[in-house]
Amino acid sequence: MAKGDLISGSIWDEYSEQVIRRMDAPTHQGEITEEEAATLGAKLIVADFGAESCGDAVRLYWAVNEETNEIISSKFKSFGCGTAIASSDVMAELCVGKKVEEAVKITNIDVEFALRDNPDTPAVPPQKMHCSVMAYDVIKKAAATYMNVDMESFETEVIVCECARVTLQTIQDVIRINDLKTVEQITDYTKAGAFCKSCIRPGGHEEKDIYLVDILADTRAEMEEERMKNAADAEENDTLTFDKMTIIQRLKHVEAVLDADVRPMLIMDGGNMEIIDIKENIPHYDIYIRYLGACSGCASGSTGTLYGIESILQQKIDENIRVLPI
């Protein structure tokens, strides 16, 4: 939240002239009949994507030259909002003259870019960005129909945010490399989730297979698991430093040093000590202890004995350790 979020923008001011022109008078709206395709010496392909009950449906017609795979003619019909209709129109236009295998490479980003009046200004307001996604999906459907393959075969990567076309791999990588902890950070780094926001968490505009919150949680969990595993491996190999240890490892390590080098002396005097807590207090590690038996109440517990314990732990474990009796 910030100043810019307080008053919702008027979406009417944020459409490009192209979007308005194409919605008001689409140039590639309509259908191609079997006869028309035959006249062109082409094969007719009809592909549907979406459903009216979801609020968005588009049908794409192609006349394809079967020798060259070239799309000779391309038309659309759409049940959708202005942006959906304008996107479908430019999408149909982009297909004309392309070979089917080239058309498949058209993305919703290309469609949106083609609708811009100038390269630096988005053609539609952020919340309408996803309306161009369907235009892209239906191309793959048409191509799959023509090539008689499964639509999924065109998907080489898992796209999490369709508006900005950000892949699962990219998101996982930025989380790891930059040690990201919030979804907002992911959006800042990748633009995923910046537009229609459906991919952030369940309950948004569209239902998704995978959400940023889950990717973040899973990746963080994996990172934590790896950290633990590395810590355990390092301990086994005896190369682990105190700062890399888990809290349990730190405790065990401190206990071991105390058992070997501190407690025998205390016990000889009829006393002992226990660890209450180990707190990370950057750059220090504060080890809270309690004296037991004869040590409790002994004047040396806050002077000589304490310094002794502290210096042993600093030498044997980490020079940043402080010992605090309570």
Binding site: M23, G55, K128
Partner: protein
């Protein structure tokens, strides 16, 4: 031509109302609570405004009508106040409301659910209204409050407030109605029905934005939402916006005068019916929730094959403002609960367009709108992938 047909969202301020408010900005700007002539100078018109409000809903002098910032505040106040008085302090723990209330009811109820309160959301029936019987069935030993709107914003459907009031009275449960969409459209008489609280908002009946009211029945307690000064008899703290209060009072008087004459035959009703009938002449169009028992200014029409927002686009390009319950720009694509209530045909959920008129619309405007709407339907159906526009190629409706 510009035609505003979105009066359930907000209305134009009645020019008389605007004129009545003007002196309270630069001339009579005193604080009504001040002990000098500047403050006292505001009192006569405030009293007059209060009289208009009491008369407009036929409240008794013993009842309270508290000036609030809007119906959202009034709704929040009732629910959170009853929560404080009956749930946090007592043995009640249940609220009954409907699925189709304004977010200022449902979001507050969701918030209370997070605090451990049990809430029943009643669905609407096939006709888009609430069965009074379903309210009675939902009442439990620990029910503290029933909150059901007087009229629905999308369909204009009137809910059986009198019957629900009787049921609540019989079960000794507090009853609140959000009458925001009813005031100025149908007769709202708080002595004809049993209710404890009723919310309303000035800008829905040609008053200014930023002011509303809460009717509280005589002797009903309600812990304040806004604590502070002793304004409004201690019910609501905060310096009263005198201009807005005066505006709301006059707006109430005008709205109820215009409507009380026999609202079935009002100007707005005739225009709405003219518009609606013209659209219904197009094939595959229906009035959602049916024509019975509605506010006389509203029609929610499904136009098969035409996505609601694309319709708004065409209307806007021709200077007409209407609304759709299913704008795909909204964050949540779930069609609104009123549309979903007609669930068997989920395709209709995205084809609804709401036209809501006011007494300021003219016959010329409606004639123009009809022409624009008919052309838009033809154009958008020709583009539509889901409407058979050429019978030659499509025997079925795809």
């Amino acid at each position: 031509m510009e035609v505003y047909l979105d009066n359930n969202a907000t209305t134009m301020v009645d020019p008389d109302v605007y004129k009545a408010m003007e002196p309270f900005f630069c001339e009579k700007y005193g604080n009504p609570n001040s002990l000098h002539r500047f403050g006292a100078g505001t009192h006569p018109k405030m009293v007059e405004a209060l009289n208009h409000l009491y008369d407009g809903i036929n409240a008794a002098d013993e009842d309270d009508i508290v000036i609030t910032a809007n119906a959202t505040e009034s709704n929040n106040w009732v629910i959170k106040g009853v929560w404080t008085d009956k749930i946090l302090n007592g043995d009640k723990n249940h609220i009954i409301t409907s699925e189709v209330e304004h977010p200022s009811i449902t979001a507050v109820c969701k918030f209370l659910e997070d605090q451990g309160v049990s809430v029943t959301y009643l669905p609407v029936n096939d006709e888009g209204t609430i069965d009074a019987k379903s309210v009675e069935d939902a009442i439990r030993e620990d029910t503290a409050l029933v909150s059901i709107m007087w009229a629905n914003n999308e369909t204009g459907k009137l809910f059986p407030i009198a019957e629900i009031g009787r049921i609540c009275k019989a079960h000794d449960v507090l009853f609140h109605s959000d009458a925001t969409q009813a005031i100025g459209k149908v007769i709202v008489d708080v002595q004809e029905v049993f209710l404890d609280f009723m919310s309303f908002s000035a800008h829905k009946f040609h008053g200014p934005k930023g002011v509303g009211g809460l009717f509280i029945k005589a002797d009903v307690e309600l812990t304040p939402l806004l604590h502070g000064g002793e304004q409004m008899g201690g019910r609501r703290a905060g310096t009263v916006d005198v201009a807005s209060m005066v505006g709301m009072g006059l707006a109430m008087q005008h709205a109820t005068n215009h409507m009380a004459i026999a609202y079935e035959n009002t100007h707005v009703r005739k225009l709405r019916d003219k518009l609606e009938n013209a659209i219904l002449e197009l094939p595959d169009t229906i009035v959602i929730g049916g024509k019975e028992n509605r506010t006389p200014n509203t029609t929610l029409i499904s136009i098969r094959g035409v996505e609601g927002e694309s319709m708004l686009w065409d209307l806007n390009q021709k200077g007409i403002g209407a609304s759709t319950g299913s704008a795909c720009a909204s964050e949540d694509l779930e069609a609104n609960p009123v549309m979903s209530a007609f669930g068997s045909d989920s395709e209709l959920a995205h084809t609804g367009v709401r036209f809501s008129l006011s007494r300021f619309n003219t016959k010329e405007q409606i004639d123009y709108s009809i022409e624009v709407i008919v052309n838009a339907v033809k154009r958008l159906r020709a583009i539509s992938s889901s409407y058979a526009y050429t019978p030659k190629d499509h025997d079925s409706q795809l």
